[in-house]
Symmetry: C2
Subunit: 386 residues, 2 copies
C-alpha cells in the first residue's frame, strides 16, 4: 500500500446556520482545506463527500457532483459516501483507499450535514434511518431511545452510577470553550446535566449531542505532494468495521463489537497499542457512549471507563487526552461531517495548532467515528511526520 | 496498482417487485454472485452498495450495514455509494480501488433500487434529485424534461431526424427478448415507438427507460483468489469523471464531457482503443443518450451515431455490439443497480455465458454508466483472462 498524508484541513463553525445551505458550508470548509494544503484546485483528482441525510431532508442527491461544481472542480471523480452518523469517517476511509491504490495522488474529502432550518421534515425522523426502518423505526422509537436502552443496561450490568457517566459531557464542555468552531463553547456543571430535561429516560438533554449544521474537509495526498512541505501528518492506519445493524439483535449492547474489530485492525496496521496514543477523539453522541468507547478502544476495562474520567486521565495532561475539541456534545454533531471534524482536530493537535487545548508533544492521534448504535465504526490513526 | 478480477456475478430479474423489499432484492443478487464466485461468506472483507433513492423513497439510510446484516456479514467494512443514476458504476469503481489499494482481497459490490411500490413519495421527485434541487428541480422540470432539451438541441445542431434516433430502443428490445432478467423481453417496432405517448416532448414513452426494481452484485478479488479458477475476468481499467452538475450551465449539451474524460483515461489505462472493444453497454436512459454515447465513446463522429445503428454496426455481429442486454430501455433501469447490471452482462459476454445474445469470441468489454444528464460517468473495461 502507498503512503497517504494529510496535506491540509478546514472546518466551518458548528451551529445553526440559517443563512448557509449545504453547499455553502461544504465550499467554505473545502476552500480552507485547499488553502491550508497549499495546492491549487487543478491538483485535486477525486472528491469524497460524507453525508447521511441530504436525500431525506434536502431532497438532494448527486451531492458530490454538486459540491464539485460549486468548487469549480469539473472533470474529477466524485462520490457521496453514506454510513449513517459514521459517514464522515467512512468517506475518509474511502479517500484513503483512493490514494493508497495508486490511481489518485490528491483527493479532497469532506463531510457536511444540515439538520436545522429544514421546514418540511424533522431531523429525528432522519436520524432513525440509521437503524432499520421496517423493523425498528416503525415501532416509533427515536435514536435517543435506542441509546437509552444501552445506557440502562450498562448501569445494570456494571453497577455504574449516572452521576459518574454524566461527567463525560462536563469534561467535553470544559475544553469546547477554547474551540472557536464549537457549537457550545462554554462550561456546564454536573448539577446542570442531571437537572436538564430527559430526552429519553435516562438520557438528559445535556448528555445528548445537539442537532447541528457544519462541514469539515481534508486534502489527502500521496508522497508526490509532500516534498519540501512542513506540518505533514501521515495516515498510519484507516479501518472500518460493522456490527449487526440493530442493537436488539446483538448478544451484548454494552460493548460495541465494531469498535473492537476496527481498533484491533488499526492498532496492528499502525503497529501501536492504546498506550502509544497521545490524543483521542471518540464519538460521544450520548454520554454513555463516551464511556463505552474508552473501554472498547482499550483504555479501560469494561465497566471502568468512568474511573479514567474521575482520575483526570482524559484531561489535556492525562494519560489519554480525549475529546479536547468538545466532542459531539459540545463541538456539535453535524452528522455526516463529524468524522471529518474529528480528523481535522487530531491533525491540529499533531501539528501543534490546537491553541489552549494543545497536548504537548502529541505525535500519534486516533479518531473513532460511529454510525448508528455501533453499526459502523471507522478508526483512523494519524502520526506527525514532521 | 494491484490487479483486480471479477470472480462472480449475480442479478435479480428487473421489474416491479411488489413482494420484495430492497433487502430481499440485494440479498438474492448477492448470494448468486457469491455462489458463482465459489467463495464463502467469510472471505468477504468489504461491501459497497450502489443506491440513489433509499433515503428519499424508503426512509432508509445505513443501507450498507443493513445489507451486510441480512447477508450475515458481521464485522466487514460497508459503505453506500451515491452518484445519482451512476451509483452502481461508482460503487464498482470504489470496490475496485479497495482491492487495488492492497487493504482488501475480496470485496462484494452490489447495486439496488426500488422505484415501484412506494406509497408516500413519487419516483419522479426522487429522480430529479440527480440535478440541483434549489436551482433546477424547483422550476418543476422532470428528469425526462432535461433530456428532452438535449434531444431537441441535438436534432437542431446535427440535422438528425427523430425516426433515426428512435431506432435505438427498437434495437435494445430486439435483444432483450433473449435476456431472462429483462423487464421487457419482447420486440417493438419503430412505428410503435413513434406512436407511443409523449413523456416530455419530443421523448416518447418507448424512448424512455422505465421505472424498475432490481439488484445486481459482483465479487471482486485480488490475485489471491484466482488460482485454479476458470472463467476469470480482469478489470483492465476503472475510471470516473464528472461534468458541471446542471446541463444549462454547460457550453454544449449534445456531448457529455464526463464520458469523453472518463473514456480517455480508461482507454489509456487499459491500453486499448475503441476499435479493440468487442462488446459494449451504454447508459441509454433515453434513446438520444444511446446515440450520443456511441459518439462520445469514440465509435462514431458527432452527429453520425445513428449511422452506426442503420448500418447494423451495433448488432451482435456488427463492429461494436451494443446493449445486447436490452439496455436501460428494455432490460430496465433500477437506478443505483444499473451500472452493476451492465458489468454483470459484460462479464457474461466475456465468459461466453450470454446465450442467444453471445458475441462470438468476445474478449474485451466496456460499460458506461451515467449519473444525472452526464453529471457523473464511470467507464469500466473488462478483459477475459481465461
Amino acid at each position: 500500500m502507498r503512503n497517504v498524508y494529510v496535506l491540509g484541513v478546514g472546518v466551518t463553525k458548528v451551529g445553526e446556520h440559517w443563512n448557509s445551505s449545504l453547499r455553502d458550508l461544504f465550499v467554505e470548509a473545502s476552500l480552507k482545506a485547499i488553502n491550508d494544503a497549499e495546492i491549487s484546485l487543478s491538483d485535486i483528482q477525486a472528491l469524497y463527500v460524507g453525508n447521511m441525510c441530504s436525500g431525506y431532508l434536502q431532497g438532494q442527491e448527486s451531492l458530490a457532483c454538486l459540491m464539485a461544481t460549486w468548487l469549480g472542480l469539473k472533470g474529477i471523480s466524485a462520490s457521496k459516501i453514506e454510513a449513517a452518523c459514521g459517514s464522515g469517517g467512512m468517506a475518509f476511509h474511502q479517500a484513503y483507499l483512493a490514494i493508497a491504490s495508486g490511481l489518485y495522488d490528491c483527493v479532497l474529502v469532506g463531510g457536511v450535514e444540515k439538520l436545522t432550518d429544514v421546514v418540511t421534515k424533522d431531523a429525528l425522523s432522519a436520524l432513525i434511518m440509521a437503524d432499520d426502518q421496517e423493523y425498528v423505526a416503525s415501532t416509533g422509537i427515536t435514536f435517543a431511545g435506542l441509546n437509552a436502552l444501552v445506557y440502562r443496561e450498562y448501569m445494570r450490568k456494571y453497577g455504574v452510577k449516572q452521576e459518574d457517566i454524566a461527567l463525560f459531557p462536563v469534561h467535553c464542555h470544559k475544553y469546547a470553550k477554547n474551540n472557536p468552531y464549537a457549537q457550545f463553547p462554554f462550561e456546564i456543571t454536573l448539577e446542570q446535566v442531571l437537572a436538564s430535561p430527559l430526552v429519553a429516560d435516562p438520557i438528559h438533554l445535556l448528555e445528548s449531542s445537539p442537532l447541528s449544521d457544519g462541514a469539515a474537509a481534508i486534502v489527502l495526498s500521496s508522497d508526490k505532494f509532500i516534498k519540501g512541505k512542513e506540518n505533514i501528518v501521515k495516515v498510519e492506519a484507516s479501518t472500518a468495521a460493522t456490527d449487526i445493524l440493530s442493537p436488539h439483535e446483538r448478544d451484548d449492547i454494552t460493548t460495541l463489537y465494531a469498535t473492537i474489530e476496527a481498533a484491533k485492525r488499526a492498532y496492528k496496521l499502525a503497529k501501536v497499542e492504546p498506550k502509544d496514543i497521545d490524543v483521542l477523539e471518540v464519538h460521544d453522541a450520548y454520554s454513555i457512549l463516551g464511556v463505552i468507547h474508552l473501554e472498547d478502544l482499550g483504555f479501560a476495562e469494561k465497566g471502568k471507563g468512568v474511573e479514567l474520567i474521575k482520575e483526570g486521565q482524559i484531561e489535556k495532561d492525562g494519560k489519554i487526552p480525549t475529546n479536547l475539541s468538545g466532542g459531539l456534545k459540545a463541538r456539535g454533531h453535524p452528522v455526516g461531517a463529524t468524522g471529518v471534524y474529528q480528523l481535522v482536530e487530531i491533525t491540529w493537535q499533531l501539528r501543534n495548532d490546537a491553541g489552549k487545548n494543545q497536548v504537548q508533544g502529541a505525535e500519534i492521534g486516533l479518531a473513532q467515528n460511529v454510525g448508528g448504535v455501533g453499526s459502523y465504526v471507522t478508526i483512523n490513526i494519524l502520526r506527525r511526520l514532521r
